[in-house]
Symmetry: C2
């Protein structure tokens, strides 16, 4: 794969940034694609742009605002009951199955830019109830994409079977733990790096980091230092 | 299926209009979805709207202009060579594999409106080199869609193995041959019904109609009448 080209589905968060560094290690050429669909925080797209620019990576930002047309709130007389809270806390543009759309766009983009490989940071391990993050879905989409365009694309999911502490482990092995910790945005409240510390995304991220650093032999967090000179507040 | 709901991918052309009538025969409830992506003729979308309105069918027109972002012309430094004429005669928004996007949107829409069935008029028989019209692609997408949303959708392709004369035969059996002939738009030059008569779409459509009417026992066209009181100019 060293001579080949990949496109990374890139949100500017911990997972996809780790995947970006993984891809830079694996492939001769790497481009990134970000889907702008009215995220909770426009800052997410800005964060992705800043990282891509800093790393000198060609970055495609695709306007996906049209998926809002498929949001439950946009369709009247939907004929299905949406249980209270099923989409609770999600932005109004949340669309079940949206990775089908995103990865389809990424696949067709890959064809257009001559990339054989597509990398995404989806994971079944921290699987939060979304079927479009499962391994079986991704593999099926890979076949469908190749049939759709008579192609031989390969979708890579380096994080599929890793938990959050193992994702930190991967970024550490790539020599990028500190970069990922300080430059990415995971927090639901739009705060970069270690985030607000309170939202579910921050807690999951922090717990993973603590676990990884603990296993690595540094003292546990939050009180005290750690390996890699990472200190959490 | 008689008690169930279907959504028909509907362009206002001969094939999808025939599918619409087929679906009306098969399902208790039918809705239609049209993708507006900068067609050669805006008239195509208008034609679809008019038919849906006349038939009293709930019609979703989804703005797909964003696929233009994936058109070869929109991406610089594409890394692939586009042979002269590969996209010759196609609108600048033509995107290889676009049925992957359209059918994915249709699938997610089906989920949102509570339709179990999705009907599309793609056909391998008059297959013009597009892999995303093949039966294998549609079946694979069906599986992928179901995995993406944990669903049990069924994609129907009633025209998959029919040639154009058999498609006319189907509309005749449904009692809608004359409706399809006079109300739909197939012509590349944007002329409804029998069209310009000169473009490849018109010739294919006309040849199929002549063959069907000939087999049915009417006199052949263009000189003379036919079964169903259809007369071509």
């Amino acid at each position: 794969m060293k001579q080949e080209k990949a496109v990374v589905v890139f949100s500017g968060g911990q997972d996809s940034t780790t995947c970006l560094f993984w891809a830079l290690e694996q492939f001769a050429e790497v481009e990134a694609v970000t889907f702008d669909y009215g995220q909770r925080h426009a800052l997410e797209v800005e964060c992705a742009k800043a990282i891509a620019e800093e790393l000198g990576i060609k970055h495609h930002v695709l306007d996906m605002s049209l998926i809002g047309q498929l949001a439950p709130s946009a369709l009247t007389d939907t004929g299905i009951e949406v249980a209270d809270g099923e989409y609770g806390g999600l932005p109004s543009t949340f669309v079940p199955g949206r990775n089908l759309l995103f990865f389809s766009f990424a696949g067709i983009l890959a064809r257009q830019i001559g990339a054989k490989h597509i990398v995404t940071g989806v994971s079944e391990t921290d699987f939060s109830g979304y079927p479009d993050c499962r391994d079986s879905f991704v593999k099926s989409l890979n076949v469908t994409l190749n049939l759709a365009v008579d192609g031989q694309f390969v979708i890579h999911t380096p994080l599929m079977w890793l938990d959050k502490s193992q994702v930190w482990g991967l970024s550490d092995r790539l020599g990028k733990l500190d970069y990922v910790r300080t430059k990415t945005l995971t927090c639901y409240n739009g705060i970069q790096a270690d985030g607000c510390g309170e939202c579910p995304a921050c807690r999951l991220r922090r717990k993973g980091l603590e676990t990884f650093l603990g296993k690595k032999g540094g003292s546990t967090l939050p009180d005290g230092g750690s390996a890699e000179e990472v200190a959490l507040p």
